[in-house]
Symmetry: C2
Subunit: 346 residues, 2 copies
């Protein structure tokens, strides 16, 4: 489950589960009618919780772990039991650890405060937020023009760190379009990319400005930090996510964005390239089948589902579910049962 806000992320949510169920069905067709048959056919590896053997195989194979945060590392404002100790063990074995989030409202530095406030010793470089991914993507293509930002300060901070010029963002949150006859909105012809992240101050000014850049500036890129339908702005309910902001710009430009956050592989490729890792040396740990586990499987990673977030064991084992992690466990700390049998990474 992806947390949007440091302090306020949802506990196990019936909405999240419902939504996840819907998307799984959409992606993989109709459920099979014979439950027993279907289960044995599609979930050969995840029919029971990982035992010591599976845990040892998982950890020994991986040089690197990528963790989704909410539902894996913490839930709402609380660290999940045993997580700090488990991270310590993995670090002591020489494993690289990364924490990824589709949150774009904060920068890595902003997100680091959440970790620190929970007493989790993490470096900013270990955090892959989609705001960072957007800036890293522009850097990877040697982007030299200006970016127009629909989104919050996280994107701006990351662009600043990469030395990428930008306009828009929160400064345009209170701007309105004056619709008198003859009104013409000027836009900057130097904008070469529109970056769209979650923006609670989305308005018609920003939509039109972004649209003009994409439609009028030759070659202007359209980058989405993510396209999540919902997010967890507060712990009380699910909120419309960046799918809305991206959808608004898609609707007026009729163009598809280049998405840098999950489930696209950009963050993954960026980690693998930066740290010279093979994909099968990386293990993705998440609590959502249709985002985290799909993301890992699509990228050729090992995958481990934890039941400490939105997915229940019943959902995982249901014949309606066709997404099978390599292994699953109740929560991350269950790895501790084999801590004395694990090997140091090569």
């Amino acid at each position: 489950m992806l947390a949007l806000h440091g302090r306020v992320a949802a506990p196990i949510s019936h909405l999240g589960t419902k939504h996840q169920g819907r998307r799984a069905v959409q992606l993989f067709g109709r459920p099979t009618s014979t439950h027993k048959q279907a289960r044995s056919a599609v979930t050969p590896m995840a029919q029971k919780r990982a035992g010591d053997e599976e845990k040892m195989a998982l950890v020994n194979k991986a040089k690197c772990f990528i963790f989704d945060c909410d539902g894996v590392i913490w839930k709402g404002d609380k660290v999940i039991d045993g997580v700090p100790e488990t991270l310590d063990v993995l670090r002591s074995l020489g494993k690289k650890l990364f924490f990824i989030t589709n949150n774009s409202t904060k920068s890595r530095a902003g997100y680091l405060k959440k970790f620190q406030s929970l007493g989790l010793p993490v470096q900013a470089e270990e955090i892959y937020s989609s705001s960072y991914a957007a800036a890293a993507y522009l850097e990877s293509i040697n982007f030299q023009k200006k970016a127009y930002v629909v989104g919050e300060e996280g994107i701006q901070e990351e662009l600043d760190l990469k030395g990428i010029k930008h306009i828009g963002g929160p400064a345009d949150g209170s701007k309105a379009v004056n619709l008198k006859s003859g009104e013409y909105m000027h836009h900057d012809p130097e904008v070469g990319a529109v970056v769209v992240g979650f923006d609670r101050y989305i308005n018609y000014y920003k939509i039109q400005y972004a649209t003009l850049c994409i439609r009028e500036n030759p070659g202007c890129l359209f980058i989405a930090t993510n396209r999540d339908a919902v997010t967890h702005l507060t712990d009380a309910q699910e909120w419309a996510g960046n799918g809305s902001m991206v959808g608004a710009i898609m609707g007026s430009t009729k163009q598809e964005p280049n998405t840098v956050g999950k489930p696209s592989g950009f963050m993954l490729d960026n980690i693998a390239n930066t740290f010279k890792l093979q994909k099968d040396e990386i293990c993705m740990v998440g609590d959502r089948l249709d985002t985290d586990i799909m993301f890992g499987k699509n990228g050729g990673l090992s995958t481990c589902l934890v039941l400490s977030g939105v997915t229940t064991e019943e959902t995982l084992l249901s014949p309606d579910n066709k997404i099978t992690p390599d292994c699953y466990m109740g929560q991350l700390s269950e790895l501790m049962s084999v801590k004395d049998k694990l090997k140091v990474a090569a």
Copy 2:
């Protein structure tokens, strides 16, 4: 070309033409390399302007004309030459006339003022705005619940005329979401339809409210007045259209809307059913190939393109264009050359 505002609609727009060209290519694949071959293969009926014979055939066959307005009836603030006289002749022959627009910001009554200000004698019942279409659609399914409106006053006025309860609309234009921890947005469980029209005051509050209704209220409908990428808010440039508002709600609900305006056939079916017309007794007159003419052809109508709006003769006859109207002429008043040879409708 669809005008959004009475007083301010674009003249022939390079943007409109460019966009139209793009969409035509997108819809119908790559241009053929041999121009002459392609032209004769795909545009057998519209290689030259309609002569008297074609005009007479067109008018005598039609019991009813449906006109797109901007680029056909008027351009910006000016009635196109000879239009009032031509409408008079068609009326004198007993033809039914309808004027359709994807504009949802005004009601029929609101739009009537535009006609009146231009000296065009038209009845409100002859105007089919997409705001009216939304209300007519809900009436057609005997809708008894409440509608949540993302849009401007036109939709509300039409819902009032049909006696349909509604909330949202302009009243929610200044509302903001307070994102303190624990914040929960309540929504009305009686909302059974979200109607999304163009809304220059789109904000996150409305997006979230609409999303909650669609996701949480069992069976809640998602109705789009239209999904136009751009519209002509002012005469100086094109503006992001209702495609943006609809895209925002699609992005958070992952649902497709039911569209009642062009190019969907609802308005057409509504006219045909209400006035007991066969589809081939209706002639669609428009200035855009990819909306007006496509709309007419998809609905089984006769189609007539006029060159008084965004489409040039060059675009029409280009091998890139695969949308062929039954006939075309420079402007509507060219029908006047055969006025003495026309038959009164049966």
